[in-house]
């Protein structure tokens, strides 16, 4: 764990598809928080040596057809699935969340915002579960100000799935004021094991007061700690 006598920085692979555009921001934010992040090209078939994987935001393959619909077939996604199945922390941010739902690693889907317009704005979030690699150690009820930046961010799922997400404590973050029409104000969900998380807000954009908020660092630190724990395990 972080804080041990001899800590090597958690190694995070940041996946880049053609059209991804938040990869440098993710690397920069994770690095500033003590992580060791490097880019992984979408044709990579192996993720050995990484303690966590981040699918950053952007417009993979231009979002053509549907956000994430083409990226899910990239060679790297097979490796991401195996990494997740082995319990490795995987976090999809924005477009990365869309890719994870298309790949079936997370339930539900992201539809166009209710207002049918792109929305880039700060969003108040509430942590609603600490049972995920992104919120481990963050108390439920913590409020965080983190920007959103998406056209297709309205989370939808069927009623049974929603019941399951609630029952299994898998709704990780909720919007304090719903900006996009997401069902149950959902901003982030996890898989059953809690090691795969998708969120629409961009925590990497909120790691410095100079840029308006450092609240995103709370989430990314939790991820780095989870990754370091993964390495120790």
């Amino acid at each position: 764990m972080a804080g041990g006598a001899r800590v090597t920085a958690a190694r995070v692979g940041v996946v880049v598809f053609p059209g991804t555009n938040c990869e440098h921001d993710a690397v920069s934010a994770l690095t500033s928080l003590g992580g060791q992040a490097e880019l992984v090209w979408h044709t990579a078939e192996r993720l050995e040596g990484f303690d966590a994987v981040v699918l950053p935001g952007g417009f993979a393959h231009g979002d053509y057809l549907r956000p994430g619909a083409i990226a899910r077939f990239a060679p790297v996604m097979g490796a991401v699935s195996r990494f997740a199945a082995a319990g490795g922390p995987v976090v999809g941010i924005c477009n990365g969340f869309q890719v994870l739902t298309e790949a079936g690693l997370l339930p539900g889907a992201l539809q166009k915002n209710a207002a049918l317009r792109f929305l880039c704005a700060p969003a108040a979030l509430r942590v609603t579960s600490s049972r995920s690699v992104l919120t481990a150690g963050v108390p439920v009820g913590t409020e965080l100000m983190v920007p959103i930046n998406h056209f297709s961010g309205s989370y939808v799922c069927d009623a049974a799935t929603l019941e399951e997400l609630r029952a299994e404590d898998r709704i990780v973050l909720r919007y304090v004021e719903n900006p996009n029409g997401s069902v149950d104000d959902i901003a982030a969900v996890a898989n059953a094991a809690g090691n795969v998380v998708g969120l629409m807000p961009h925590p990497e954009r909120a790691v410095s007061e100079l840029l308006g908020s450092a609240d995103g660092a709370v989430l990314l630190r939790a991820l780095l700690a989870s990754a370091a724990g993964e390495r120790a395990a």
Binding site: P18, G19, N21, C22, H24, D25, S28, A29, G58, F59, H61, G62, D63, Y64, R117, F118, L119, C120, A121, P147, N149, F151, H202, E204, R205, V207, S208, E209, L210, L211, G212
Partner: protein
Amino acid sequence: MAEPHQHQPVHRALGLTDDELTAIEAVLGREPNHLELAMYSVMWSEHCSYKSSRVHLRRLPTEGARVLVGPGENAGVVDAGDGIAVAIRIESHNHPSAIEPHQGAATGVGGILRDIFTMGARPLAVMDPLFFGPPDDARQRWLVEGVVAGISSYGNSVGVPTVGGELTFDPGYAQNPLVNVLCLGALPVERLVLGRASGTGNLAVLLGSRTGRDGIGGVSVLASAGFSEAAADDTKRPSVQVGDPFEEKRLIEACLALLDEGLVVGIQDLGGAGLACATSETAARGRVGMDVDVTAVPRREEGMTPWEVMTSESQERMLAIVTPDNWPAVAAVCRKWEVRATVVGRVTDPVHEPGSVEPVGRLRIRDGIDGAVLADVPAASLADDAPLYRRPLAVPADLEVRRQDDPGDEPPGDCGAELLSLLADPSWVYRQYDHQLFLNTVVGPGGDAALLRLAGPGLPPSHRGIAVTTDSAPRWCALDPRTGTAAVVAEAVANLACVGARAVAVVNCLNFGNPEHPEVMWQLSEAIDGMTAACTALELPVIGGNVSLYNESGGADIDPTPVIGALGLVEELAARPPGIGWTAGSTVLLVGPRRAGPATASAAGPSPGTPAADPFPLGGSRWAIECRGHRGGVVAPVDLAAHRRVVDLVAGLVAETVAGGGGLLTGVHDVAGGGLAVALAEMAVGAEVGVRIDGVEGHAELFTEIGSRFVVATERPDEVADRAEAAGVPVTRLGTAGGDRLVVDGLVDLSLAAVAGEWRDALPHRLEGPAAQEA
């Protein structure tokens, strides 16, 4: 224009005059063939050749200690320090956006990005000054929605944040909206590249999209002619290009990788005039020739003729000059990024010709690289030899009457209601733009200027910041283009000061009417003189520009609309500037002149013969025009020497905060459109704290737009006053921030909630209607 009309000569159908045809025949010593004529018609178009404006543009100051590249290249470049150079350019995409707002605006963004990464810079920020008719009918709302969605969909997807802009509504733009786009990028100084070809035998490699029939004649048919009676000419729609931001994103990454690895000799984007432009310009700049195999150009459709291929404005294409040895490595980089790369030509030796002093580089278009020659022209004749026009100038006949018709005679009204009508939060627009990518945006849209960290992938580390703003005031320029343009430059510099930056360079986008109208040429000439006066006095080099003429419809020209983009630097960026707001209990001060002074020797205006200075002039103010429908009067003069003292003081005070030293100010905002009233209201809304102001003489003082003025808030007013006195800058105490009302003694008394509500809802209500807002 699919095919030239049967009933008129080919050259006229292509937009060339009879005299221009004669000039082409003189260059070639023979009649041009159809392909040659098509290439001259696009390269000698107003849009590409600046044939009406060049004689005036030469007057602008272009040199400065930080300037690495001035006008004439794809973008201007300045040395920002710490081994980093900043490239900046502004362009218009007015006519395409009038006809097809979404694609017109989107391809405007795409085009300007290519101008920036052509220089080796990674595009880091975009700004969009937009001008429409009042959005009170369905067509205007369609234009606004379409343009904003086009910028949003292209800019967000391609991965460049849109960090600011301007939104102006005026009936003069109803038939001819203006869509200007500014882009800035940064690069390690040593990576700076110029768009030129060299090295006989080197390969001309076309990168990116295949070439289609979209955008043929965009620069000549579309950009270099006015609109007729119809709202927009539907027949011109095929001249609008279609954009693909995903292709552009891969093209950016591939080109920056090629430049990083030193694999190209020169590189040039394909924009207006397509391959004809890129091949002739690179050859002309490098003083070489080029053979182009038109059959090698990858195409989107069958049956395209050579002239269509050479003049197509299909988007997302670049031309790279590559040594044969490097070609395999170039092809490998392009494969990785899934970017098409095709050898379409080769660099040739210039040849000695009878009668020419220097050897002449010839551009030859061939049917197969060693096949028949389809066109053969001196490359420089396309790029550089367009005719220069000294078009006649004339003062508009009604100008003096309009200047005499001063709104100072308008009776005062309900100042509170008038203030509310002038407020509008532009976030409806900018929330549709990603304005944060790259983690650089310290102050984004909605601020006086954007303030960015000077950082980006591949750049050396720096603690510096860059600031950028775009400004315009067509309402001033309509009455006095010289003073108005000088005042716009001054306002841009003032906006930079609000975020602690000192201006280092400007670019301009000159949106004017039909240059064949002598009044329009007078406006253009006056505007350039005003810009020259202001930039000279403020020691600001003009490092690039764009001229957009023929902004007219049904014979009516737009108001002269010079847009100034200004770039500023911050030495140490460690904390956020005070911003548009204040803290409760702060003293609110006016920094700068309270009253308009007479014009001084260094002022850019007013023109001789205008009435004596009014202390609170309202001519050309938002109040006069928007509240009273009164467009006449005299514009406040600009004292450039005094302006410099004021902006230096404010920039210095804010820079102390930005450097992390705390500083004296709790808020700052320049006084601009809507005057003191709007500045105070925006600060109160920003702070969510009211204010009580006293000593304002009347509505004229409240709404006048005299320049060189800032409202600042401070908890240490004596120290600010001392600093101002030392700098020779006047300061007036206006009042105290606090409470939940906006009160200007005897003139305005409004609840802060009402002010904030009106500000927030104004634009959504106009664009969507109140019902949509509540849904």
